[in-house]
């Protein structure tokens, strides 16, 4: 029984590593960048809204922190007739 446990037990450290990587990627987004992301989201929305009408629910701003660089992804859904309305 002990021998079986010794030989067939899978390593646990890779699971720890993977779980941490997923968790921390998520937590870094929500805690550290939250103020900045909210600010960016609001200001970007203001600029866009000057030219086209957009729904604030359709704006998605994400920031990801890396060791060397961080990336900011902005995803805005613009309705088909938005340009006409603003004009």
């Amino acid at each position: 029984m002990n021998l079986r446990r010794l030989f067939f037990r899978t390593q646990s450290a890779p699971a720890a590593r993977e779980r941490l990587q997923v968790l921390l990627a998520h937590e870094r987004l929500s805690s550290e960048g939250s103020d900045l992301v909210t600010k960016l989201r609001d200001e970007i929305l203001q600029v866009i809204a000057r030219h086209v009408q957009v729904d604030s629910d359709k704006v998605n701003v994400r920031m990801e922190r890396g060791a060397q660089v961080s990336t900011l992804a902005v995803d805005i859904e613009i309705p088909f007739d938005a340009g006409k309305k603003a004009a």
Partner: protein, 271 residues
């Protein structure tokens, strides 16, 4: 002007106080003038680890509240002349630590000592944020274990946003001190490896302190581990960490990895 170091971790029980005492003693053993400050108001333990628990008269809160002079509260180590301790209060509430008071005390200590080591309490509350507030250098103490790594990540975020240096737009120097490391368990794949932790936290490595009975023995007798047994594996690791802290580029070795013939046969039993 001395350098201010904060020893921090977020999680409790990972070895902040042990490391503060050991690094402070190691720096002082090299001749530098060092003060180690306990910020854990209400749960002080640095005095006990350094063997000065019966010599505490005044503490950090007394100094901040103006009830004692800084020189009255400082306790000089009986073994090393250039090592001092500023204890925390055991009875007072931690709300007695004020931002202005801490700034004044740390500022005064900086002019008298080469190194001011701030031993942070666990958590991310007032005591912890005040301990890191005026630091030039942060030492993040981490165990190779998921909850400790997660909390360290959180603390690194705070160091980059809530310290005086960060607010002034400067970078705070951050180092990782990996403690309670067991190379045999890491090798078997049951403990996060050094590279795993480094990749996740992405801050430079100051040293690896092996899991060791010598640390417990040192605390039992109230002596920093670098003083209790200079030749023990954790003491050597702390001495090396201090050399790196002072700018020497010394490669980091994993303690206890070089095993002889007998070590290879019997080493695993211990783990």
């Amino acid at each position: 002007m001395g350098k201010v170091i904060v020893v921090t971790s977020g999680k409790g029980g990972v070895g902040k106080t042990t490391s503060s005492a050991a690094l402070g003693a190691a720096l002082a053993q090299n001749g530098d003038k060092v003060v180690v400050v306990d910020f854990d108001v209400g749960l002080r333990n640095l005095d006990l680890i350094m063997g000065a628990e019966r010599r505490v008269v005044y503490d950090l809160v007394n100094v901040i509240q103006g009830e004692a002079k800084l020189t009255q509260a400082l306790i000089r180590d009986k073994r090393i002349e250039s090592l001092y301790l500023l204890p925390a209060s055991q009875t007072r509430d931690k709300d007695n630590l004020t931002a202005e008071g801490v700034e004044k005390v740390v500022g005064a200590l900086k002019t008298h000592f080469d190194w001011v080591i701030c031993d942070s309490p666990a958590g991310i509350e007032r005591g912890a944020t005040l301990a890191m507030r005026h630091a030039d250098i942060a030492i993040v103490v981490t165990n190779p274990e998921v909850s400790s790594v997660r909390d360290s990540d959180r603390i690194i975020g705070l160091l980059d946003s809530k310290t005086a240096k960060a607010e002034a737009g400067e970078r705070i120097e951050k180092h990782l001190l990996l403690t309670r490391y067991d190379p045999a368990r890491a090798e078997r794949g049951d403990m996060l490896k050094v590279d795993d932790v480094l990749e996740i936290l992405s801050i430079p490595l100051l040293g690896i302190i092996p899991e060791s009975m010598d640390v417990l023995r040192a605390s039992n007798i109230g002596s920093p581990v670098t003083l209790a047994d200079e030749r023990s594996a954790p003491a050597i690791a702390y001495f090396d960490a201090v050399r790196r802290l002072k700018g020497e580029s010394l490669p980091v070795t994993i303690p206890g990895e070089k095993r002889g013939f007998f070590g290879k046969i019997f080493g695993r039993k211990a783990a």
